[in-house]
């Protein structure tokens, strides 16, 4: 599998570490924060089909990437910096 890192270009998947669901973390204050965080840490979504997840380019530029892929076919539609585009 290959991931197109927006900084390094297309690279082999072995350079990346997988993290999981890229949904934004809940804020850490508020009434329901404990349940929300619990779900964000333990109950991550892993649907069959198109999904956004986080990958860390530890064998390259050390960027955290938001990768859109199909979990059934492993097709990768694109990757963006998790931190947003550099200004």
């Amino acid at each position: 599998m290959r991931i197109e890192c927006p900084f390094c270009g297309p690279r082999d998947a072995s350079e990346f570490a997988y993290y999981g669901d890229a949904k934004r973390r809940p804020e850490t204050s508020g009434s329901d924060v404990s349940r929300q965080l619990y779900e964000a840490v333990y109950l991550r979504d892993n649907p069959a089909g198109r999904h956004e997840d986080l990958w860390y380019h530890g064998g390259g530029c050390r960027s955290w990437l938001r990768v859109t892929r199909d979990t059934r076919t492993h097709e990768i539609f694109g990757a963006t910096f998790a931190a947003g585009e550099p200004s």
Binding site: R2, R25, S34, Y38, V41, Y56, T73, H74, A82
Partner: protein
């Protein structure tokens, strides 16, 4: 003349073939000496010496010969070479002959011609499908002691060498526009059209001569022979600088994103690899487009005795004849359902080999074929079948039943069979594409190949050579264009006419003797019928119940026959039965090739600190810490036990001074206006309030609230901190901090960089440490207690080198850590030892460091084990209530905040002379050792030279409240049961007076 002598008579034709008769090669098979020629495979050389019997079958130990002439071979598996290079299960049909080759037949005892295991054939009811499942169900213990060893002895294939492989293997990445898989007619045409467009092309072919079927068949392209055309095409490709031709290279796997795995047998055709050359090379090829031109595999027919040596695929007979000039028999018959096999008869006769009969299962046959046969004087029968074959070790007679029901015996020693051709789509299914049945082609074809792949030629079901060339040419051009190449007009090579009509016949229902479906796993037509009767009718269940297609050949020749039989037995169409898909590797790949250079000490990188050479010179014993090697202790002459050395090192540090290389600890440089706010976020305690020039101990939690790592952060400027991590977690913490920075708090102005390898760092500990530093640093730095108090840090220039000094202590002594750029690490430690000589300085290793931290009750990786909370470790008060930090919310979950959780305590043996062991579990005195009574466990132990007895740290329920209590440290693994006293985890200098010197 004995039978054996006639058996051995050479069979090589006087001329022809792609062999070099000027280069005879010697080889041995089962210890006997033979010779062949350069260009031979082991199989062609064996047949050239008249050898038909090459192995015994897996279950029934039936005599087996050579069935095919390619990598799909199920029978002719041999052990190759000897000693450390001995390799089992190599296919004689693709082993390239070399001078000095040694081969042994497999799966026979005591000899190939007389095999005791053949008795299995008589007992065959016991080896029918599902036998293992039904018979060896119980008792379970019988599996290990009786059944498994017996089955393994009887049913083993070859023997691997017990010695280490002496050869080297390497791995390589390659990138191209167009990967062409297969160098037959379609592949060559594709590579030529793609290559001429200027695209970067890689062509892989498993053979050592390009051409595929062109070398085995008697065909013409553009007025020259097929093999000559292939040769000229390969010369054209070699001349193109943008084309790389990899011969002897099998593409074994197709992976996501246009990645392909291939193994190149660089030196398999040599006695030993040339110096510095690998035996095999693993290629990871990344291709924009791929053309799958893997051809087709001929199917056998399932009839009685179809496995007898002398029964061979019709195409293989042509290959041995045309490519190797070896007639596979002296008197032949053909058994077929397709036109293609008639060419075998014509080729044999053309070489002077009599063909007794062509038995065609079809009732209607192209009159041009029958007329040609009759002109040549070959008897042909339509609508007929071979019922069975006879012969003790190889073929003597076949029994033929004609359409009118008459049965007659015919004496032949070669039966060439063909049940038609199956497109070879194994690689196309690796990513999950499912082929579908085509009635017109009588085979499975692919409607939706994987992304970026085009299938061309016989692999796509185009069996006529003219179509194959046209499709290959078009596929190569289209792939090159899609990858950005510019295709030029070029003439298409023209092929001669041929007959390709075919009607599928799968098996001869009237056969009464054993009819094999899967040769390598000895699956017969009866096994398929049994599986059908017992309800294992889906192809996936059929496969697992009968082991059809589960041998090393993955059923290349057998799967489709098995599925067709199942379809007929259950009255379904092939399209309803379906087919199984293949998984990588296409053919077996040596583990050595997958490992490459990653073996032995090179299995993973070894990281050495700048002071490594110095430590070696001091007699250090090293220990692996992740990828690092760290000095564990420095034994002196006369010290015979590590504990003596370690205790001495501790006493000398605590008494005078010692130095320890701590360069392996992770170091992360944190800079930016929000650096303090960022560290507040990742540590449980506050860092934004840390004054410049100060160091603070910090604890990090994971998102789930458990402790991740500990270390220190030193502040050198308002916007500059240097964080330290444990050696083991350096990479993990870096990833965690980057996650916090980029994913959780991208708005913060902060940058991180790992500087672990950029700085050498030495811990100087002991009452004389300040004195040593004063002598070492001179005027470069003010290290007075006022200028550099406990937990202070300074940056300064020392001999024009930037240096940092941290007053931190892991040992509990007056201690410092001196950091210099790594290129000065070696000089620094030598200078330090020189400056400290009069003060009695000693080097100490990780063991002494560990003893001293246990004496001081500091936690380390044994306690930071991924299961402990800050409170468990007695560090709960560090968690700030004034701010948010990673892990804060989830650390408050009831299970993690439970006061009953095991918490950190110290232990001493109740009888002070007793030894302690880590890993023992705590039990109340008198309690039964069971999970319900488990109270916690011992995490770390050490012999304390200061207290002169063993001490330990552990985690026990309600820990701190139980000081003074006696419990048991119970260790059933080592069979130990020791009473221990619960004490404070700080054993030595509890007031901390020594820290301040």
């Amino acid at each position: 003349m004995s039978a054996a002598a006639s058996y051995m008579k050479p069979r090589r034709l006087p001329k022809g073939g792609l062999i070099d008769r000027s280069r005879p090669l010697n080889f041995t098979f089962d210890g006997e000496r033979y010779h062949g020629y350069a260009g031979d495979t082991l199989a062609s050389a064996l047949l050239g010496n008249g050898i038909k019997l090459v192995g015994r079958s897996f279950k029934y130990h039936r005599p087996r010969g050579i069935l095919t002439a390619g990598s799909e071979e199920p029978n002719a598996l041999v052990e190759l070479r000897s000693g450390a290079r001995r390799e089992p299960n190599t296919r004689a049909t693709i082993v390239e002959l070399f001078d000095g080759l040694e081969a042994q037949s497999q799966n026979r005892w005591p000899s190939l011609k007389f095999d005791v295991g053949a008795v299995n054939s008589v007992l065959s009811p016991f080896f029918a499908a599902g036998f293992y499942y039904k018979t060896f169900m119980w008792p379970a213990s019988f599996w290990e002691r009786v059944y498994e060893p017996a089955i393994r002895r009887a049913a083993g294939l070859g023997r691997a060498s017990p010695e280490a492989d002496p050869d080297i293997y390497e791995k390589l990445y390659a990138f191209c526009d167009v990967l062409v898989i297969g160098g037959g007619a379609a592949g060559l045409a594709a590579a030529l059209s793609a290559g001429r467009s200027g695209a970067r092309v890689i062509l892989c072919d498993e053979d050592y001569v390009l051409g595929g079927r062109l070398n085995g068949d008697n065909r013409e392209i553009g007025g020259e022979s097929g093999s000559a055309w292939a040769h000229h095409a390969s010369l054209s490709l070699d001349a193109l600088s943008n084309v790389r031709v990899l011969r002897r290279t099998t593409v074994f796997g197709v992976y996501d994103g246009g990645t392909y795995g291939a193994v190149e047998r660089v030196s398999d055709h040599l006695l030993v690899p040339a110096s510095h050359q690998p035996r095999q090379r693993l290629w990871k090829i990344v291709a924009k487009r791929a053309v799958l031109a893997t051809g087709a595999i001929e199917r056998h027919i399932v009839f009685g005795g179809n496995d007898r040596p002398g029964v061979m695929m019709a195409s293989a007979v042509r290959t041995y004849l045309n490519r190797f000039a070896v007639p596979a028999g002296r008197r032949a018959a053909i058994f077929t359902g397709c036109d293609d096999a008639w060419a075998t008869a014509f080729d044999l006769l053309g070489s002077g080999i009599p063909v007794e009969i062509i038995i065609d299962m079809r009732t209607e046959i192209d009159s041009r074929l029958t007329e040609k046969a009759s002109r040549l004087g070959i008897r042909t029968v339509a609508g007929a079948r071979v019922l069975t074959t006879r012969g003790s070790q190889d073929l003597k007679t076949i029994s033929v039943r004609t359409a009118d029901g008459q049965t007659s015996d015919i004496e032949v020693d070669l039966l060439a069979m063909s049940g038609g051709w199956t497109p070879n789509l194994a690689l196309a299914t690796h990513l999950g594409s499912r082929p579908s049945w085509s009635d017109t082609l009588a085979g499975f074809v692919l409607n939706t190949p994987p992304r970026g792949m085009t299938v061309a030629g016989a692999a796509q079901g185009s069996f006529a050579l003219a179509d194959t060339l046209r499709e290959g040419d078009a596929a190569g051009a289209a792939a090159a264009e899609a990858a950005g190449g510019a295709v030029q007009n070029h003439p298409l090579p023209q092929a001669d006419d041929e007959h390709i009509s075919s009607k599928p016949f799968w098996y001869v229902a009237e056969s009464r003797s054993k009819a094999f479906v899967d040769f390598q796993h000895d699956v017969t037509s009866n096994d398929i019928a049994l599986a059908a009767r017992e309800g294992f009718q889906s192809v996936e269940l059929l496969k697992r119940y009968t082991t059809l297609g589960m041998a090393t050949d993955q059923g290349k020749t057998s799967n489709i026959n098995g599925h067709a039989l199942m379809a007929q037995i259950t009255g379904r169409r092939m399209s309803q039965v379906g087919t199984t898909v293949f998984r990588p590797p296409y053919t077996p790949v040596a583990i050595g090739a997958l490992a490459g250079h990653h073996r032995g000490p090179a299995f993973k990188p070894t990281r050495l600190t700048a002071g490594h050479r110095w430590a070696e010179e001091c007699g250090a014993t090293f220990v692996e810490a992740g990828q690092w090697l760290r000095a564990q202790w420095f034994a002196r002459p006369g010290e015979t036990h590590w504990l003596t050395t370690v205790s001495r090192e501790v006493r000398e540090v605590r008494g005078k001074i010692g130095v320890c290389d701590v360069s392996t600890l992770g170091k992360i440089d944190v800079q930016g206006n929000d650096a303090g706010a960022f560290l507040d976020r990742v540590y449980v305690n506050m860092f934004s309030t840390l004054p410049i020039g100060k160091v603070r101990y910090g604890l990090m939690l994971r998102e789930d609230g458990l402790v991740m790592d500990d270390g220190t952060a030193a502040r050198f400027a308002a916007d500059h901190y240097v964080v330290s991590t444990t050696t083991a977690n350096a990479g993990k913490v870096m990833q965690h901090l980057e996650h916090a920075r980029q994913v959780l708090r991208p708005e913060l102005d902060v940058q991180l960089v790992s500087v672990t390898e950029q700085w050498s760092q030495y811990s100087i500990a002991g009452p004389h440490s300040r004195l040593l530093l004063a002598r070492l640093l001179g005027d470069a730095a003010d290290i007075s207690d006022t200028a550099l108090p406990y937990l202070g840090c300074i940056e300064f220039s020392w001999c024009n080198v930037p240096a940092r000094l941290f007053r931190v202590s892991f040992s509990g002594e007056l201690a410092y850590e001196l950091a210099v750029p790594a290129q000065f690490g070696d000089a620094t430690i030598r200078a330090m030892m020189e400056a400290g000589r009069e003060l009695g300085i000693v080097p100490y290793g990780t063991e002494a460091l560990g003893v001293m931290r246990i004496e001081k009750g500091h936690v380390a990786s044994n306690e930071l084990n991924g299961m402990t909370t800050a409170t468990d470790l007695g560090l709960g008060r560090m968690m700030s209530r004034k701010k948010d930090f990673i892990g804060r919310v989830l650390a408050m979950r009831p299970g993690l905040a439970d006061p009953e959780r095991p918490a950190l305590i110290g232990i001493k043996p109740a009888a002070r002379t007793a030894r302690l062991h880590a890993g023992a579990h705590f039990l109340a005195v008198g309690a039964k050792p069971n999970m319900g009574n488990d109270q916690g466990y011992v995490t770390s132990v050490a012999f304390s030279p200061m207290l002169e007895h063993w001490i330990g740290l552990g985690l026990i329920k309600n820990g701190p409240a139980r000081i003074g209590e006696i419990v048991r440290a119970y260790d059933p693994v080592r069979n130990r049961d020791t009473e221990v006293e619960i004490v404070s985890p700080i054993f030595f200098d509890p007031e901390g007076t020594r820290l301040h010197g």
